[in-house]
């Protein structure tokens, strides 16, 4: 059996990541290789917008988090990244397409979340409120306590999906151990 190598430990992204990881968004003189427009090279596809705020345990909006989205429905593999420090209300924004259902599962987008104050990143998922039927039968969603599963479902408001993330408290978002 192979001798297992020890994983390199994780450390926090810290407060000063913007000029390295999302420089264009924050106005630094270095070009980002990725941004929040995940659908930029898709033609004739219906796009969706996703927005939200990341809250700490006192329900204050976190202004130094970095949100990454990854989706893969077999047809489109899309990645996006956005920092929460440039919007007045510290919202994040993404433009993408809604992934398709795979093997009867409810469609979802992976979220990888980093921030000052997290020594290890968190994983969660964005499901969609207008996929009620598939959400009702989804195995991952149904394995979660009923009162908490709604933290994973983005509500459609004014044409946009709203997905707020609560790190702690009564509304604490479900995070996954992937």
């Amino acid at each position: 059996m192979d001798k297992k190598k020890l994983q390199t430990p994780s450390q926090t992204i810290g407060p000063f990541f913007a000029y390295g990881l999302v420089p264009t968004q924050y106005g630094y003189d270095f070009d980002s290789w990725v941004d929040n427009d995940m659908a930029f090279d898709l033609k004739n596809q219906e796009t969706i917008e996703i927005t939200g705020i990341v809250y700490d345990g006192e329900e204050n909006a976190i202004n130094d988090a970095m949100v990454e989205l990854w989706q893969d429905d077999g047809e489109h593999r899309l990645f996006g990244r956005y920092g929460t420090g440039t919007d007045k209300r510290n919202r994040f924004f993404f433009k993408t397409i809604k992934p398709k259902s795979v093997n009867g599962q409810a469609p979802f987008i992976h979220v990888i979340l980093f921030m000052r104050g997290q020594l290890l990143h968190s994983y969660t998922r964005i499901y969609f409120s207008d996929e009620h039927k598939l959400n009702e039968t989804d195995q991952v969603l149904n394995a979660i306590d009923h009162e908490r599963r709604n933290t994973l479902i983005a509500e459609k408001r004014d044409g946009k999906y709203v997905f707020d993330i609560y790190m702690q408290g009564p509304k604490e978002t479900v995070f996954f151990d992937l």
């Binding site: 192979d2 297992k4 190598k5 020890l6 994983q7 390199t8 430990p9 994780s10 450390q11 926090t12 992204i13 810290g14 407060p15 000063f16 990541f17 913007a18 000029y19 390295g20 990881l21 420089p23 924050y26 630094y28 003189d29 270095f30 070009d31 290789w33 700490d56 345990g57 006192e58 976190i62 130094d64 990454e68 990854w70 893969d72 077999g74 593999r77 990645f79 795979v102 992976h110 990888i112 980093f114 000052r116 104050g117 997290q118 020594l119 290890l120 990143h121 968190s122 195995q139 991952v140 394995a143 908490r148 790190m167 702690q168 604490e172 479900v174 995070f175 996954f176 151990d177 992937l178």
Partner: protein
């Protein structure tokens, strides 16, 4: 895959979400148990960088922000190999790096530390691993800097790293430290790592990598979570 072969974060190596010595974790660490989705339901993948094109100076922080001269400080070259937990190299994966300048000052607008900015140093860059998982970049050795976590708190010299690997579970953001830093003992970020894992974040000075008349050499090998060496190309 059977249970004894379970992949995941190694909790004997990785820091916990809550580490009270690092005060910012207190309101930001999840408090409820993480949910483990049934592994059989998951098809994992992640960004692929096979055709990714770097800028010609992206890997050279000593040159990629020159305005009117060379940046101030000690030039270093950092080499390393990126592998998975089986020791198999991870080829063609992206590394993003960012750091303070030689005086311990970040370009980031929020950094208020009273140390000079360097007009010729931005402190960020990128490189890719080659077919054997090796990477290399040039930079200036970062300085230590104070922060507000506890009285007279100072961060040890460090370089931030961001890596992807084969799928989203191998995603890693970490910090590379320098050998024998006297600030380790009072640094809650370093101390947050279980004892067994700490030395894994300390680079090694390597005379053989040192480039005559140019830069001191350091080695920093990285092991990403997981057993897959290459990303899924097709479903």
């Amino acid at each position: 895959m059977n249970e004894s072969n379970k992949e995941g974060f190694d909790r004997e190596i990785q820091p916990a979400y809550l580490y009270e010595g690092y005060k910012s974790t207190i309101l930001r660490a999840p408090t409820k148990p993480l949910v483990v989705p049934k592994k059989s339901d998951i098809k994992l993948s992640g960004p692929v960088f096979k055709d990714f094109e770097l800028g010609v100076l992206d890997h050279d922080l000593t040159k990629n922000a020159i305005k009117n001269g060379e940046p101030i400080g000690e030039r270093i070259v950092v080499h390393g190999k990126v592998t998975n937990e089986r020791g198999q190299p991870i080829p063609h994966t992206l590394l993003e790096i960012w750091q303070a300048n030689a005086a311990g000052r970040y370009v980031h607008k929020v950094d208020q530390h009273d140390a000079p900015l360097d007009p010729n140093f931005l402190g960020t860059g990128r490189c890719m691993t080659d077919a054997e998982g090796n990477y290399k970049f040039y930079t200036i050795k970062p300085g230590a800097y104070p922060w507000g976590n506890h009285p007279n708190a100072w961060r040890p010299n460090h370089i931030h790293f961001s890596l992807f690997g084969g799928d989203i579970t191998s995603r890693l953001i970490t910090q590379m430290y320098f050998p024998h830093d006297p600030l380790f003992d009072q640094d809650p970020m370093f101390q947050s790592i279980p004892l067994k894992g700490r030395e894994l974040l300390v680079s090694k000075f390597d005379y053989n990598l040192t480039e005559p008349d140019f830069a001191l050499g350091y080695r920093f090998d990285i092991v990403l979570r997981g057993h897959n060496a290459t990303p899924f190309e097709n479903i």
